[in-house]
């Protein structure tokens, strides 16, 4: 029965889905919802997914190179790695932001104290 399924269909979905994803990301960058410097991983993997969805034998060849017998497993592995990398990037950005916030809060506290001192002198 399985051989009766037209596997071209999923390819159309995959190509369409990856193109939509990439355009969605590009549109977010254009509207300044994502900064360019934080979009690099998304653009890289978005493009990668388009390539893999068009080039059907690609994932088979990658699986062979990686020594994976079942090609879809190779795809899932790449997908998980992509998500991991993007999430790690988020952790780095959040840590940097919280550090920046700390410094700003400290500076505001110190400046407020200084202003109060100046106002009291008047």
């Amino acid at each position: 029965m399985l051989s009766n399924i037209n596997t071209d269909k999923i390819q159309y979905f995959a190509v369409a889905g990856s193109i939509i994803l990439l355009f969605f990301i590009i549109e977010l960058i254009r509207r300044k919802k994502i900064k360019e410097q934080y979009s690099l991983l998304w653009l890289f993997f978005g493009t990668g997914f388009i390539v893999l969805s068009i080039w059907r034998d690609g994932i088979e060849e990658i699986a062979v190179v990686m020594g994976i017998a079942y090609a879809p497993a190779a795809f899932l592995l790449i997908l998980v790695m992509a998500i991991f990398l993007i999430l790690i990037e988020f952790s780095i950005i959040i840590s940097k932001l919280s550090d920046n916030v700390k410094v700003l809060v400290q500076e505001i506290g110190l400046i407020k104290e200084k202003m109060k001192k100046i106002e009291d002198k008047k």
Partner: protein, 237 residues
């Protein structure tokens, strides 16, 4: 201008802060007192301000003890204080003992002096079993990582000279900073010594470390301490 700044971090300490400030002023005339109000939800800032005995810095966002104390170090560095004393606003520390940790720093015996509850063989501070175990682990880890024999890594009763203050104003850990900062200072070549002090039972409020926070606290601090010892030394020391 006074050469010494007493840094008093305070979060929701309206019930203790007045007594703490008065206590410091009574025992230490030649110092400035700086209360860091860490975005309290009660009127800690007003109560502290009304004493007219201290300066108050109000943080617009709650940073936790590390960020609050570091604000004090920044204030001290910017305003050219020679010495800093960290003194908790919850009434645990004894102002009569400030000179015990400050005098040896002024004499140059070390860059940092820590008031320790456990330097004497029989500690006069009652502590829970879990807390004693935790303190013991910090002691061992610290000994292995930096070769320092510090008996009370969790004590927040400390005196610093200008060089240490300057260093900490740039590098100070965030939550649960006490054990980590000892390793940080030790790794960067600062001389740390301890002197025995008494601490009072807290008068109002309760410890911030309880229940499930205890394993989190232990893990977070040990991770930070190990990471600190893996990092390169800063150029300051």
């Amino acid at each position: 201008m006074n050469k010494t700044l007493i840094i008093v971090p305070a979060y929701n300490e309206a019930g203790n802060i007045e007594r703490s400030v008065a206590d410091i002023r009574e025992h230490k005339k030649d110092c400035d007192i700086l209360v860091i109000n860490d975005c309290s939800t009660d009127n800690t800032s007003e109560v502290a301000g009304e004493t007219k005995n201290c300066k108050v810095v109000d943080l617009p966002v709650n940073l936790g003890i590390g960020g609050a104390v570091q604000t004090g170090f920044k204030y001290a560095s910017e305003n050219g204080y020679e010495y800093c004393v960290q003194f908790d606003g919850d009434g645990q520390h004894n102002a009569a003992e400030i000179d015990k940790i400050l005098d040896p720093v002024m004499k140059g015996e070390a860059d940092v002096f820590i008031g320790s509850r456990f330097l004497k063989k029989e500690p006069n501070f009652r502590s829970t079993f879990a807390r004693r175990k935790g303190i013991f682990i910090f002691k061992i880890v610290n000994l292995i990582l930096t070769g320092q024999k510090i008996t009370d890594n969790t004590s927040g009763f400390r005196a610093y000279n200008k060089r240490a203050t300057e260093f900490l104003s740039h590098n100070y850990p965030e939550d649960f900073p006490e054990p980590e900062s000892v390793v940080l200072l030790g790794r960067n070549g600062f001389r740390i010594k301890e002197v025995s002090v008494n601490m009072k039972e807290r008068q109002n409020g309760s410890s911030s470390i309880y229940g499930l926070r205890i394993p989190y606290y232990m893990f977070k601090v040990l991770l930070s301490v190990i990471m600190t010892s893996l990092r390169k030394r800063k150029i300051y020391a």
